[in-house]
């Protein structure tokens, strides 16, 4: 079929059949404002409910205004995006939206980063002509996510992420008309739902209806407390995105500046979660090999595939949705928790500090990590291994608040010993990275040969589900990779039905892996940004002198001095965990009789 | 159980069933049809009006004549019961007295079919039933 000739604001543009007015307009640099529309092209996530009506335009010959995000172009179409009719309508619609929104921009968590606010600025809203009753809802504070639905504009992006992308199914549109809002079942708090705290809803929320729990003040207090030794760890994906908050191009690596900034913030020890990622590979890799060899030798009590367990959103997901498969994932704790555990034992002993006087802060691209560090099993006598987890966005905020000019900071190095890491630890930040890191080590341990080429390109990419076979010297190791919980569910369903042929599966809750985490700088639906972050991660890996976790000298030393063997007793105690059956919030089936 | 297996089946079935609602269809346009009213008050019934009415209903149908048979109250000719009023389309009504089955047969064959009047007409004080009984039927 031929191209369509379309006129938008008197600019001619030729587009393919199936192009929307919005897409065509962007081709000729006509920037139609949108609010509910969201397009994460590479992840095949498109959301255009046509609900907000901000993007309406006038199409010649059409009775009413057309939503440009959902209306396809046709040949000879004549579109006006700024006629007086459109401007009045768009303005009125926005005023309506704001009329049902709290006027607290100055104190709002999203101020300056809010799509509603920027649209209001763009349209020059100075007064609300249609004031009236506002919706009010009880705010919901969970360990990781805050819901303030007074600020919801019903774009339904969160619902899309929660249901169609993540298949977690916690959020749904409820009620109707003016009362309509997005909420968990029975309007319970998230804490009483099956929420995994993956944070994808937070990541796409255009306003502050969904935000992460902010721990920056607690961190500041800890830093100001002379009796506390404050240790910070930074997750791999943070360095690939933090720069964006300071106006740098997506994909700029700011590892050194980040370390410098953390020092200026007066953290006592600036360490790297990558160290713990290497440690994770030691344990998880050993576990993979152990289960694999026992399985291959005919031990039917050993289940395969083995699933990675470093992502807390994912852990929460299988605890809720696949409680019958709790013995399938690796028992290895996540890098964040391994770090906390080691910091408050091995390192605390080293610097002769009581764990009660040590505060471990993690900088994470993640919202679920906030929840993970509150899990009871990760504390000793009520003292958590990781005290506070703050997101990339919160760190940026903290840096700005401390009057630090991030762009002008020098590059600095992490502290020893828990700042040392290999390239394998870095790639944890991208989907496929954990399994690639595991393969690098497992290959050598299994084949007893040196792995020459450490780049497993077949494990990299952005597709939601990928599979690859790695030749372990004659043994074909079948690997599955899923990012996004909806994709994870597909692989899990296969495992549950016994159809899965994989030996090992890596799962990350967020699309793209940690680089697309719920705590990262907002990408506002631009998936090109994720690709740049991914490239940065692999660039950092390539630049590292050491690229296999088991070669990390600090890790080797840790085992020698403290842990003994991977999967050994001490390692088991400090670095492994167990999972809990969480099921639905109301258990009906198992204990009906007891209840009645 | 009946199954309608073809269009012909349906048509046959319709023909068989049509009589059930024919009365209603006809009553939509009664003036276009022969109307027969049988006086069915106590006096009429006592002298055999019901029998006469049944005869009309069954035989008109049998002989394929489009007609409406209705009952009416006493026409006031108690001496001549059963009485029957016959109105052909577009004509004035005629009232017969002392109608029995035999007379009814004659009315059908001669008056209704051929348009010939039959003996036994009550001519006196001619009033239509409609006028006599307010509201009319």
């Amino acid at each position: 079929m031929g191209k369509l000739k379309v006129k938008i604001d008197n600019k001619l543009v030729e587009v393919e059949q199936g192009t929307t007015i919005l897409e065509a307009a962007r081709k000729v640099d006509v920037d139609i404002p949108t609010l509910c529309y969201m397009n994460l092209g590479d992840m095949d996530i498109e959301h255009k409910p046509g609900g907000c009506r901000i993007c309406v335009v006038e199409v010649e010959g059409r009775r009413n205004l057309a939503p440009s995000c959902a209306t396809d172009c046709y040949d000879g179409m004549n579109v006006k995006t700024h006629s007086i009719r459109v401007m009045n309508a768009r303005r009125t619609v926005l005023e309506l939206m704001i009329s049902d929104h709290p006027f607290e921009c100055l104190t709002c968590a999203k101020s300056g980063n809010c799509d509603l606010q920027s649209t209001a600025i763009k349209l020059g809203i100075r007064e609300i002509n249609y004031p009236g009753e506002k919706s009010t809802y009880k705010p919901d504070f969970s360990p990781a996510i805050i819901r303030e639905m007074d600020k919801c504009i019903m774009c339904r992006r969160c619902e899309k992420m929660c249901n169609e992308v993540q298949t977690v199914g916690v959020l749904s549109g409820i009620n109707r008309g003016f009362e309509a809002v997005v909420a968990p079942a029975f309007e319970r708090d998230l804490d009483h739902s099956e929420c995994t705290y993956c944070g994808q809803c937070v990541a796409v929320c255009p306003t502050a209806a969904l935000t992460e729990v902010d721990h920056t003040n607690q961190v500041l207090r800890a830093l100001a407390d002379p009796s506390k030794t404050v240790v910070v760890q930074t997750a791999p994906a943070v360095r690939a995105a933090l720069g964006e908050e300071f106006g740098m191009e997506p994909g700029t690596l700011v590892t050194g500046k980040m370390v410098a900034a953390l020092r200026q913030l007066e953290f006592d020890y600036v360490f790297d979660t990558d160290f713990a990622a290497d440690l994770t590979i030691m344990e998880e890799g050993a576990e993979i090999l152990s289960r694999l060899s026992r399985h291959l030798s005919g031990d039917t009590s050993v289940k395969l595939p083995i699933l990675t367990s470093c992502c807390p959103g994912w852990v929460s997901f299988f605890e809720h949705h696949f409680p019958d498969l709790l013995d399938v994932p690796s028992t290895a704790r996540s890098p964040q928790q391994m770090f906390g555990s080691i910091a408050k034992t091995y390192f605390a002993e080293k610097i002769k500090t009581d764990r009660k006087d040590m505060v471990v802060v993690s900088i994470m691209p993640c919202v679920a990590k906030k929840y993970e560090c509150t899990r009871e099993e990760f504390s000793v006598d009520g003292n958590p291994d990781v005290d506070y987890s703050i997101s990339t966005r919160e760190l940026a905020n903290l840096i700005k608040r401390a009057n630090i000019d991030f762009n002008k900071l020098p590059d600095e190095e992490f502290d020893a010993p828990m700042g040392e890491s290999t390239g394998a630890g870095v790639i944890f930040g991208a989907t496929g990275g954990v399994i690639e890191a595991a393969v690098r080590s497992a290959y050598e341990l299994y084949t007893k040969e040196t792995l020459e080429k450490v780049d497993f390109e077949q494990l990299r990419g952005m597709e939601g589900i990928r599979e690859a076979t790695v030749d372990f010297n004659g043994f074909p190791l079948k690997i599955g990779i899923a990012n996004g919980l909806g994709n994870a569910r597909k692989l899990l369903d296969e495992v549950r039905s016994g159809k899965s042929e994989f030996h090992a599966i890596e799962i990350m809750a967020c699309p793209g892996g940690c680089i697309g985490g719920g705590g990262q700088p907002l990408h506002h639906g631009n998936s090109a940004i994720l690709k740049e972050r991914q490239k940065a991660i692999y660039r950092e890996d390539a630049n590292k002198p050491l690229r296999k976790s088991h070669e990390n000298p600090s890790i080797i030393k840790l085992y020698e001095e403290y842990l003994g063997e991977p999967l050994g007793e001490k390692a088991h105690h400090l670095l492994h965990t167990k999972y809990f059956r969480r099921g639905r919030t109301i258990c009906i089936e198992p204990d009906v009789k007891e209840a009645e | 159980m009946k199954k309608v297996k073809s269009l012909d089946d349906l048509k046959r079935m319709k023909e068989g069933l049509q009589a059930n609602i024919a009365l209603r269809e006809k009553s939509e346009h009664p003036e276009a049809m022969t109307q027969i009213k049988v006086a069915m008050a106590t006096c009429g019934i006592a002298s055999g009006a019901k029998e006469v009415m049944d005869f009309f209903i069954t035989n008109l149908a049998k002989r394929n004549i489009d007609a409406i048979v209705t009952q009416t109250g006493c026409m006031g000719y108690c001496y001549a019961e059963p009485t029957v009023e016959v109105r052909l389309p577009g004509q004035d009504p005629v009232v017969y007295g002392d109608v029995d089955v035999k007379k009814a047969d004659e009315i059908i064959e001669k008056h209704i079919k051929e348009g010939e009047l039959v003996d036994g007409i009550i001519p006196v004080n001619y009033e239509t039933i409609d006028k006599k009984y307010s509201g009319g039927i």
Binding site: G51, N64, A89, R176 | D9, L17, I21, R24, E28
Partner: protein, 592 residues
Amino acid sequence: MHILVCGGTGCHASSSNLLLENLREQVAGKDLAGEVQVIATGCFGFCEKGPIIKIIPDNTFYTQVQPADATEIIEEHVIKGRQVGRLLYKDPVNKEVISDSRKMGFYKKQIRVALRNCGFIDPENIDEYIAADGYSALGKVLTSMTPEQATKEIIDSGLRGRGGGGFSTGIKWDIARKVQADQKYVVCNADEGDPGAFMDRSILEGDPHSVIEAMIINGYCIGADWGLVYIRAEYPLAIERLKTALGQAREYGLLGEDILGTGFNFDIEIRYGAGAFVCGEETALIQSMEGHRGEPTFKPPFPAQSGYLGKPTNVNNVETFANIPVIFNKGAEWFASIGTEKSKGTKVFALAGKINNVGLIEVPMGTTLREVIFEIGGGIKDGKKFKAVQTGGPSGGCLTEKHLDTPIDFDNLLASGSMMGSGGMIVMDEDDCMVSVARFYLDFTVEESCGKCTPCRVGNKRLYELLDVISKGNGTHKDLDKLRNLGEVIKDTSLCGLGQTSPNPVLSTMDNFWDEYLAHVEDHRCPAGQCKDLIRYEVVAENCVGCTACARNCPVNCISGERKEVHFIDQSICIKCGVCFMKCKFNAISVS
């Protein structure tokens, strides 16, 4: 002799089922079973005077018949041939008694096409439907026409969708017919949500087979073998009758496989609505049928391209379907000969409100409002003055005196600022306040908006709030400007038909009753005396005789006064219910 007893919901609600039983008992008891058939039919339409029975062949029309009247009817009318005078219909204007339904003003101007079998056959008996030409259209289509020819017949008939929009039914079928797909669906929209319209229910109650027949024909035309009826769960009687009819059609082989030996298969299932007006919109309806929240989706894709379960789906409403068999039986030309140039055939209206003859009527397109209201409807109740007629329900507008001689069709109504909608027609008199009426409809829309798009979710709420302020006498001229701008924007920007039409009641009343709005705003006065906050009931001392009727009936006991003395209303307690006003026989209560 046939005794037809109306079994529609209206009459049902007034115990017509008991009446039916009593009549049958009497017939059996008096050994009349051979001569007299008692038949429960669908709605006669004349709901104002229900329960109604009609005696065939003499067309005697009895109104407001109580179960206890059965004996008298049988003994007097059936046996003795004497009409029961007190049950006959009296013309409300000239008080003349009319016994023959065909001579009643209510029926004189009506042409019943969609309602042809309502009140004529027993809807629970397929044999009666077949006797009344039922399924012959299906036979004709399946054996002698190609889908294309049959579709063309509908296009040629000029039939337009009776559900509201008025899109050409034939063209709609043709679009669905031309789409290639392995599976297609036919959907009958029986989710009549317009408050005050009940024709679809009446048709399903009175003539379910005509809808079934039409759906099969539709299936044949577009190449679908499955049909769904989406029906309001609040319509228990219609559901029962439809289920019975489906069962009978299946038993006769008219539904199922190899229909009439032609190799064509088609079956129908029932889906229930659950109380959401927006589900009358076809995309919302499809969402609902799939088990989702009934939120409309953006068109295109149209259901004809991607509908139920993503398959091409043709959706028509009940009344539209009810017209289909007649078109094939009598020909497209016959159908097109009725009505106006662009609106063919007849339209069923639910005539209600301040009118003498409330009921369901069917008139040719092009009939004027005057004919409908004053001839068929018998004029305004209690001799009051006609003020407005609201058509199209919450999507329509109010028409006035000046529109009375406008021939009713899709385009004229639209041009007058209202719309056909599903055919609700609510007549209002001088006591109805137009601001309140607009507010009533907005209240409905606010409650029924799905909440998906901003203008409908928030905008209608704001419209309602503005109207509320005005009806309380607190509105300003600026509020009136806002009302208009907001109304226009909501129409222009809403996602679906609900929002695109919801401001109509406001905009049309503003157009036609501007003075009334001004009176509320400028004088803080409600000319119709209906807005509670703007009126007070007071005792007119010179007329009050102290009969105590007002005091005794006042629900809040705010009226005091001794017997034979002038009474007094305590304004601080008065809830303005108006009972005192209604009860006073001496014009001693005034509204101001």
